[in-house]
Assembly symmetry: C2
Homo-oligomer: 277 residues x 2
């Protein structure tokens, strides 16, 4: 199986692919998220893996918008612990490092490291794994990169410092996307993990509309694990709501809740039902 | 009065300052949003004006996080219609233009213009108004910028094309921030505009907690106009909720709702009460 992801080989998304599809899945790197969705739409890959939220950064809002634009289904989710490592060519030792390249978000998640090492300059790069690739190929003097252990392995860099992120509660949640009709993955009959269902809807533009919509879930004791709002195109100050709930879309209670929610909404789409990570 | 804003003179935020504080208010440009908040915290300015959401782009999530980090109050809101103009030095005519500079978000909001004018290259710049400043000062050949009419005026550029944005439903909502104790602005006794109140809270981590929290508002017929969720630091997969409701924090029904909401929340803070724009 081939799965598209955004970034260079060695990205955290590649780790997500291995967790979701096993070590034999072939990662297909794409420069932009739009390319990831296009690769799946065009049939160049069997699946796509996208980050949807990070526990420090928040949601990757553009990917919520792309879920709506395309007709794919979420067939699994996974969580990757984001460990940032300082990586350099084997001949570079830590005392020599003066410039550190990485994606802005990664640099911002290692502020304590930079505060403790004032001799080191931060250099913004377009990608975490890409910064390792560049440092290994171009060998700029006194330089290192911040990225995953996998990136160090792929580009044969040496890890000078492990786990230099400020906050260890740094996780990214990923979705596996496939064409409509694909079955949820990773669930076995013995799996004890609960099911989750992801939805997107718009309410009537009336007072209390969101509360009423949520009542279709809450009054059936269905738990919400996430709610995200996004602007509704063409209707200023109205919103789309993305919700994750605990339950399988085939469960009777979830079916009833969805049918009830449909009465209360202008638009409702189930984005997928899958095992919790 | 002096008000800090992010960007160069001529930014849409400067237009928001004029709408919020009148034409005599002095705009105080800052490179980054963190500098805007710091300018107000350090007493270098009397107020700060920040964008909080755009009808196409969505929320400016970092500013929600900054509202929580600081102790300021929202004393007013306003909405600015985002009109993108193609601006060049007076000696440049449209047929000569080959490169157009602007902020990535502005370039992305003029895709039809670029599709119709394939001879023109998009060039990403750090700021909309700043791109006009650069084009006027450095005069790179065959170049123009995309920014507000105000930016054209300030840097004495000529508007070659007006309103080149794809979508006319393009508005940005701004907050006026002041030190705690400041009174709401812009409300007169005769104003027919309703009051709004902005809150942030975290719920207990139990099923149905958000629904119960919203019930404190809905069961008192208080209308929600916005809900935004942000990750809660240190508690992966838990969230802060930012809410705007119609009503004044001094109203009896809002007071009761806030007191009820307080019972249902681990944390609750009123960010401000102000007249709707």
């Amino acid at each position: 199986m081939t799965a598209a992801f955004q970034g260079e080989l060695g990205a955290f998304s590649q780790q997500a692919i291995a967790q979701l599809l096993g070590p034999k899945a072939r990662p297909f790197p794409c420069p932009q998220f739009d390319d990831v969705f296009a690769a799946l739409a065009d049939g160049n890959v069997d699946a796509a893996v996208i980050p949807i939220e990070n526990t420090l950064y928040g949601s990757i809002h553009g990917n919520y918008d792309r879920l709506l634009k395309h007709d794919f289904v979420i067939t699994a989710e996974t969580r990757v612990r984001i460990v940032h490592n300082l990586i350099a060519p084997p001949e570079t030792n830590f005392a020599q490092v003066r410039n550190v390249y990485s994606h802005q978000v990664a640099l911002d998640q290692c502020l304590d490291f930079f505060a403790d090492n004032k001799q080191i300059q931060r250099e913004t790069f377009y990608d975490t794994a890409g910064s390792v690739k560049m440092v290994m190929e171009e060998r700029p003097p006194a330089s290192a990169a911040i990225a995953s252990e996998l990136a160090a392995k792929i580009y044969k860099g040496r890890i000078l410092k492990r786990g230099i992120e400020d906050d260890r509660e740094n996780f990214t949640r990923f979705f596996l996307l496939e064409h409509p009709g694909a079955k949820p993955r990773g669930g076995t009959a013995r799996s004890s993990k609960p099911w989750k269902t992801s939805l997107v809807f718009t309410t009537h533009n009336t007072p209390g509309a969101l509360f009423r919509a949520l009542s279709a879930l809450a009054l059936r004791d269905l738990s919400l694990t996430k709610i995200e709002s996004r602007p509704l195109r063409g209707k200023p100050w109205e919103y789309l709501f993305y919700i994750d709930l605990i339950g399988r879309s085939e469960d009777k209670v979830v079916k009833n809740a969805l049918s009830h929610l449909g009465e209360l909404c202008d638009f409702l789409r189930v984005l997928g039902t899958y095992r919790e990570a």
